[in-house]
Structure formats: C-alpha cells, structure tokens
C-alpha cells in the first residue's frame, strides 16, 4: 500500500475531501478527521476535528508516511458548513468546478 496514496493524483484525492477519514501513517500512527485538502505536490493530507470548546484541532499527515486511507463517513450539511467556514480555508475556494 505504501506510495499508493502518493500516486493517486488530484482527481482521486479530491473525492476524499469533506469526508471523515481514518489515516494510518508511519508504523502505527492513526489519525481521524474531516479531510480539508490534499497537497498535490507532497500528497500530504490536512484533517480537522471539531472539539467541544468550539475550537478545531488540525492534523497534517505527510504524504510519504501514509500507509492507508479509509473513508468513515460523508459530511452532513452542518459539518459541511463548519468545514467551509473554518478559518484555515479561503472564503472563495469552493470545490465546485
């Protein structure tokens, strides 16, 4: 599986955006969160997790370390809103073609 993620390409990566995913990286690191984006240069993923205090925890998983990516669930409209309005995203940057 190693390197498979890096070679998927933008059209495949973008299909994971706004989904809750589980990423296995390195030997036994596991990260869960909503996928915000994938860097097309390094294949690194950016995941966010909404916390109860209203803040977000952001994880960046380096593309070279990714072993496996698993989709857990799709975002409902409320989660989509929170993702679109999160401070780490540009206001004008929608996924629509």
């Amino acid at each position: 599986m190693q390197d498979a993620w890096s070679h998927l390409g933008p059209l495949q990566w973008i299909r994971f955006v706004n989904k809750q995913i589980k990423v296995t990286a390195g030997k036994d690191e596991e990260r869960r969160g909503w996928l915000v984006t994938v860097d097309p240069v390094s294949a690194s993923l950016v995941l966010v997790d909404f916390r109860e205090d209203g803040k977000m925890s952001v994880d960046m998983v380096m593309g070279h370390a990714v072993e496996e990516v698993q989709v857990l669930q799709e975002a409902d409209s409320e989660t989509l809103d929170r993702l679109q309005n999160s401070l780490i995203l540009p206001k004008t940057c929608s996924l629509d073609a």
């Binding site: 070679h7 097309p40 240069v41």
Partner: protein
C-alpha cells in the same frame, strides 16, 4: 516527488479537470500552511519522537519546515529547519 500529471495520456478535457482539482487542492493547502504560521505545532516523527515548535514556513515542495523555539530532548533550539521526510504528522489548534 510526484509526477506532473496522472492524466497525461488522457484527453485535454480530462487534463483540464485534473488541473482544476490540482489548483483547488493546492490553494486550500497553502491556506492551511498560512493558518499554521506562528502557531505552536507538535511534530510526530519516526521512532516515536515528539517535538514542539513554533511554525514559520515550508518550502514550496514540502522538503523542509522552518520553525522557532524547537523543544528537543536535549534543549531548546532557537531556530531550526526540520526535514519533512523525518516527520509523520503534525498537529495544531485553530
């Protein structure tokens, strides 16, 4: 690193769709990097090493991170470059 286009063999329309996806993903990613500037970031490295530092910048091809106040087991490094290939993941609060 990664080849320029996975759709290089495909038709121009496919290439254009891929280029659009690439642009969107990269723009979003650059904003995430911007959001990380001056934040305290935990780096999870290989061999279960965890270090904390204040994030400065990354080079365009994600080979190095520039950080300040890098807390290592042997002391605090005022300024440092971290090789991205030594990093598994990093975490910060936003």
């Amino acid at each position: 690193s990664i080849s320029m286009s996975a759709a290089s063999e495909a038709d121009p329309e496919e290439q254009q769709r891929e280029q659009h996806a690439r642009t969107t993903l990269r723009e979003r990613f650059l904003h995430c990097l911007l959001a990380m500037t001056n934040k305290k970031v935990q780096f999870h490295m290989y061999e279960k090493v965890k270090v904390e530092a204040t994030f400065g910048a990354s080079d365009i091809d994600m080979l190095h991170f520039q950080v300040s106040d890098l807390h290592t087991p042997i002391g605090v490094q005022k300024e440092a470059l971290i090789r991205c290939h030594d990093v598994i993941s990093l975490t910060f609060d936003a």
